[in-house]
Subunit: 415 residues, 2 copies
């Protein structure tokens, strides 16, 4: 089953707001077997709306429209739909009751443009909106469904979940789709694709593979489509077994999670405590770790040591180390990690020191030079990297590589 999303409103086109509604709708519809074939963001203009609906009906069975239902003059969606479906408008008593109640609740006086929100094309099935003043509309014509919903995310989500999805499930018969995600770390997209080329080439036509890279990690998403849920599940499971054979050193999860969640689970299972000693990453490693709910169970804290004084005073880096080797060096980053580990009584500590740029690079240590270290119960390891990109990318990339180094260190030390 194919669907197209049309979002109406200039605020998206001028970049005033980011369209997060469409991604959310895709996430809800994909699992039930609806493929979004296109998302179109267009302006509040009658001709443009009609053209977009016509184009969409050439591609999809289900057209989902959001936005353009406000009470003000620039919102023309409802009257455009009435015109498009050649429908009279009539006051809908239930919708009117809804609007009246909402105004009463908010202690506001209703004016005529508010009352007009309950005017609906007679050819639509109204989708009553319990949390806003604009009802949605469901039209059917030539086996196609055209749905119009408010653009306010909260109102749209409630209407999708409680009305539109149940009505679609009743209206159509859907194929079964299964997804399986695998997270890899420490290998680039192109090398990964070469390593798994044989697996990819041998996929049956009903299973698709997508590569979703994010800095040092690449997510592999396999999607199987068919009727036999059980058979597809075991096909996807078999792919997992094969991946474990082909890329055991890079495969870090067979779930749809981020690297910081993978690490969080390992730490919780092994009851380990960690912390970070950060120079060039400036707190971003701590941020990644603490972005995971429940991280307080294993993350104790960090020292961000941007200045050399803080490196010495708080992490116990020797002045002679800084003088002899510099702040961006194997020696310094190891002392940072070991210093923090000891100070906070941690099992593992990750440290970073590098040159994020744009200034500060030298011939021997150009911008992008980064040292990372992990101090653990058995040993400490350090590794250097030469990263490219702008300041923020170097910071983010370093932080993700730091998490991966921790993961490897825990695996190697097996404590």
């Amino acid at each position: 089953m194919k669907a197209e999303i049309i979002t109406i409103g200039d605020e998206i086109l001028i970049g005033q707001i980011v369209d997060t509604n469409s991604a959310w709708m895709g996430q809800q519809l994909n699992p039930i077997g609806v493929d979004i074939v296109q998302i179109s963001s267009i302006s509040d203009q009658v001709e443009h709306i009609i053209k977009a609906i016509n184009e969409a009906r050439g591609r999809a069975d289900i057209i989902l429209i959001t936005g353009g239902l406000g009470p003000t003059k620039d919102d023309v969606t409802k009257k455009t739909l009435a015109k498009y479906f050649d429908s009279e408008m009539a006051m809908d008593p239930i919708a009117l009751e809804h609007v009246t109640q909402i105004f009463a609740k908010r202690n506001l006086k209703m004016i005529d443009i508010n009352e007009a929100q309950a005017l609906l094309p007679v050819k639509c099935k109204p989708l009553y909106n319990p949390v806003g003043t604009a009802p949605g509309m469901w039209f059917e014509e030539n086996e196609q469904v055209v749905v119009s919903m408010p653009g306010v995310p909260y109102e749209m989500k409630k209407m999708m979940t409680e009305k539109v999805i149940p009505m679609l499930l009743e209206r159509y018969t859907f194929p079964v789709i299964h997804h399986k995600n695998f997270l890899t770390s420490g290998i680039g997209e192109s090398f990964l694709s070469k390593r798994i080329a044989h697996l990819e080439d041998s996929l049956p036509p009903h299973i698709k593979l997508a590569y979703l890279p994010n800095y040092s990690t690449v997510r592999l998403r396999f999607s199987a489509r068919g009727q036999d849920a059980k058979a597809m599940e075991s096909e996807l499971e078999e792919i997992g077994h094969r991946l474990k054979e082909i890329i055991p050193e890079y495969l870090i999860s067979d779930e749809d999670i981020r690297i910081q969640e993978v690490i969080g689970r390992i730490l919780q299972a092994k009851k380990l405590k960690i912390g970070t000693a950060e120079s060039c990453t400036g707190g971003y490693m701590a941020h990644l770790i603490t972005s995971v709910a429940g991280s307080s169970a294993y993350f104790m804290g960090s020292v961000v040591s941007y200045s050399n004084e803080v490196k010495m005073q708080e992490l116990g880096v020797q002045e002679s180390t800084l003088t002899s080797y510099g702040a961006v060096s194997k020696e310094t980053v190891l002392e940072m990690a070991e210093g923090l580990r000891k100070k906070l009584g941690l099992d593992y500590a990750i440290a970073s020191s590098g040159i994020a740029g744009p200034g500060g690079g030298t011939e021997t240590k150009p911008v992008g030079t980064v040292w990372l270290a992990v101090a653990g119960p058995k040993e400490s390891i350090a590794k250097d990297y030469l990263l490219y990109g702008e300041r923020l990318q170097i910071i983010e990339r370093s932080a993700m590589l730091g998490l991966d180094l921790l993961r490897k260190a825990i695996e190697a030390q097996d404590i």
Copy 2:
């Protein structure tokens, strides 16, 4: 001048990623006089790409395509464009040199699919990519321009800023547009629009206002379009004077910069040293501060004290304070800020403690309860907030509010 954006890639359609590229492109193009008439997100399929380009060329002069340029098999954009423009492919030596250098820099061996990224349709002007392996392409036909760029946000942004926008400015004649940005902090969009309603209503038709909110800050962008550059400049300057009268307490910059840059300039001018003591923000305040180039001049370091032990041991928070008032309290957050200020010898220290959720909330301290404090040379201040949203939003919002509290504290103490 009209433009259409086409983003290619299933990851947007299935809702795996939110398309933030298009909003950014709209923000960049609007100011030079390019109106985005439609944004279309489509899948990586030859027929679909061709259809989308044809539809777009019926509406716009400039077609900007992002995504689908990766080295793997699921990326078909380049060969589709070659087919569409009926062009041979040839190895581009400069692009090949770029790819080779990137691999050499990363100390990686190049494989054939990487080399193939330098294969380009001979009919395009190559847009060399200094930060990635996929070059962009610029095609011209029948007075229309079709540009293809990588989907990786920072590669696309660099290519847009350094190549595409300058080339568009050379290729077409645009009206004269002047912009003036003002950054506000600490007031929501709707309240702000109410406060400046009179100013907004009195704007002449050739000056447009856009609200660009980002957590606790809202950027006001005034765009004047016309022929008389000098007159427009003085009109925009006059708007600045009026804003300073209407919202002096919220207006923090009349430049197009972020709050962490505003603060960086204040700190550098006043030669002040700062640091952060972070609980719920988990290092994100330090990250925001250190995302600014040159921040090592005023940022010394941070202690992220996720556990109570670290709060006591590293920041000198009293055990009795934690027992009597809890970690999320005015008393604790003040001791954190004062502890760090003293320990690192700072002029100002910002501290945070709150409940980012989803767990950990109680009846009296629900998820979203956040205390922020700033300790300064004259006094310390603390403030509580009740923030909404998911974990990551609460973290990011808290961090930006912390920066704003620092700004206010420096202003109030005038040191």
